[in-house]
């Protein structure tokens, strides 16, 4: 899972985190189990992603696939894309 610069303070500066899981939610949970302090910033109480951040599987937003239930294959690349405002 690729972590963009603005969110790396929650992953000890890691730009990429190796995750395991057959679905997007399993992979996300695996990442959050490695960095538990990240959870309240990334997820709502019901476990869904907050509205300022998107999770892409390759080039597709998982919202346009099967959401957090989107199945994953080995070597798939997930990318977190948060909104940023700098200009």
């Amino acid at each position: 899972m690729k972590i963009p610069n603005p969110l790396r303070s929650y992953t000890n500066g890691q730009a990429e985190v190796l995750v395991q899981g057959a679905t997007a939610i399993a992979a996300l949970e695996d990442m959050l189990s490695q960095y538990p302090a990240f959870r309240p910033h990334l997820c709502k109480d019901d476990g869904s992603l907050r509205a300022f951040v998107n999770l892409f599987l390759d080039r597709s937003n998982i919202r346009d696939l099967q959401g957090l239930d989107t199945p994953l294959a080995p070597d798939d690349i997930l990318t977190l894309v948060p909104s940023i405002a700098g200009g």
């Binding site: 963009p4 610069n5 603005p6 303070s9 929650y10 302090a37 910033h41 907050r50 509205a51 300022f52 951040v53 998107n54 892409f56 080039r59 597709s60 937003n61 919202r63 346009d64 990318t79 894309v81 948060p82 909104s83 940023i84 405002a85 700098g86 200009g87």
Partner: protein, 384 residues
């Protein structure tokens, strides 16, 4: 009827006239076109320079700031001699020097729900070169409601995003990001820093998209989000689709007029000076100096990143960066007075929220950060 080009303009734009996709008609389209650039900072600078150089006939500039020396490494439309002058006037002078044949209108005012429709009305295309979430949502909603394209760019340290949000044909900004992050979660460039050349790359992409749109050529970034990483020198795209539940461009919109975007984003408006947690939680640099002079038992915590300590530091302080503060709460004593500070007060306000929500009550944030300390107490320290 498109305007004719003068002999001088034919010479000036000869390299454009040679390209079949532009040619005489394309250059006349640019001369007839108008673009409104919101923000004349890092992104707005290259956008304004390239649109003026390309011969876009009418350019509007919106900003309410003055040129500061710390702007110059990236806001290249402004020169050293313009420090202290209005940004829109500085930019206007530079653009007219670059191309005296165009018209440049300067709006020295914040872009708000109250004036956005009036300012934007005559323009064909809107360029988002702002540095804050409320104005980004305002620009998006304005563009959706008026059917104009929003040429989007945003930057953070070494990374940038660009797209064209044109709701008539594809997704809007709200389709991608229905809501902004909570205040303080994604730091601003003023707090986190930015590589000066980064907005040059992203702004130039925005200018390219604007010129393509005005000419009606090529494949635009509409429906795609460009993700640029300067450190990796990577350009990646992700696909964007219209969100059927979008509150502004969906089939059943809830937003049918401009709203209060400061309230929507949960940040204080321009007229509000207090931090997100309100007055009473702040301490001024002079008050802090008195407390330290008296030798009171307080814990002074610098929540900046370790590399910033090389620029300036307060001797009595210990460094616990904001990103790891939550993990160090166990080392803090809620019975002891705690004063938090950062560069200018934004990160320490966020740190204050973390401590207050963990039950700490004897905690304050240094108003204006170490920069205020450098201005008012220890003037040997640099301001950055």
């Amino acid at each position: 009827m498109l305007p004719e080009l003068s002999r001088e303009e034919i010479l000036r734009y000869s390299r454009h006239l040679l390209i079949p996709e532009v040619g005489l008609d394309g250059q006349r389209k640019l001369k007839a076109a108008s673009a409104l650039i919101i923000g004349t900072g890092g992104l707005g600078s290259p956008v304004a320079l390239y649109l003026a150089a390309a011969g876009v006939g009418h350019i509007g500039l919106v900003d309410y700031d003055v040129v500061d020396a710390s702007n110059l490494p990236r806001q290249i439309v402004h020169g050293n001699g313009m420090v202290g002058r209005l940004k829109v006037e500085s930019a206007r002078a530079r653009l007219l020097d670059l191309n005296p044949a165009i018209q440049v209108e300067a709006f020295n005012e914040p872009f708000t729900s109250a004036n956005a429709m009036r300012i934007a009305e005559p323009y064909d295309i809107i360029i988002d070169g702002t540095d804050n979430f409320p104005t980004r949502y305002l620009i998006n909603d304005l563009c959706v409601l008026t059917g104009k394209p929003d040429v989007y760019g945003a930057i953070y340290r070494f990374e940038g995003q660009a797209s064209v949000f044109y709701a008539r044909e594809g997704p809007c900004y709200r389709c991608l990001f229905p809501e902004p992050p909570p205040p303080g979660l994604v730091p601003s460039c003023a707090d986190a820093g930015v590589l000066g050349i980064l907005p040059g790359t992203i702004g130039t992409i925005q200018a390219t998209e604007a010129i393509k749109f005005l000419l009606g050529i090529g494949s635009s970034l509409a429906g795609r989000l460009l993700l640029y990483n300067a450190l990796d020198m990577s350009f990646e795209y992700v696909k964007l689709k219209k969100n059927p539940d979008c509150k502004v461009c969906g089939p059943h919109p809830e937003i049918t007029a401009l709203v209060d975007y400061f309230e929507f984003c949960g940040v204080p408006g321009l007229d509000h000076a207090e931090g997100p947690t309100g007055a009473g939680w702040d301490i001024t640099a002079r008050e802090l100096a008195k407390i330290l002079y008296r030798g009171d038992n307080i814990r002074l915590i610098d929540v900046r990143e370790p590399h910033e300590l090389g620029i300036s530091y307060i001797e009595e302080a210990e460094n616990i960066p904001l990103g790891v503060l939550a993990a160090h709460l166990g080392e803090l004593d809620s019975a002891q007075e705690i004063v938090l500070f950062c560069k200018s007060g934004t990160r320490s306000a966020r740190a204050l929220e973390i401590l207050v929500s963990a039950g700490f009550r004897k905690v304050k944030s240094l108003e204006g950060g170490i920069n205020a300390w450098a201005r008012e107490v220890n003037t040997n320290l640099p301001v950055y």
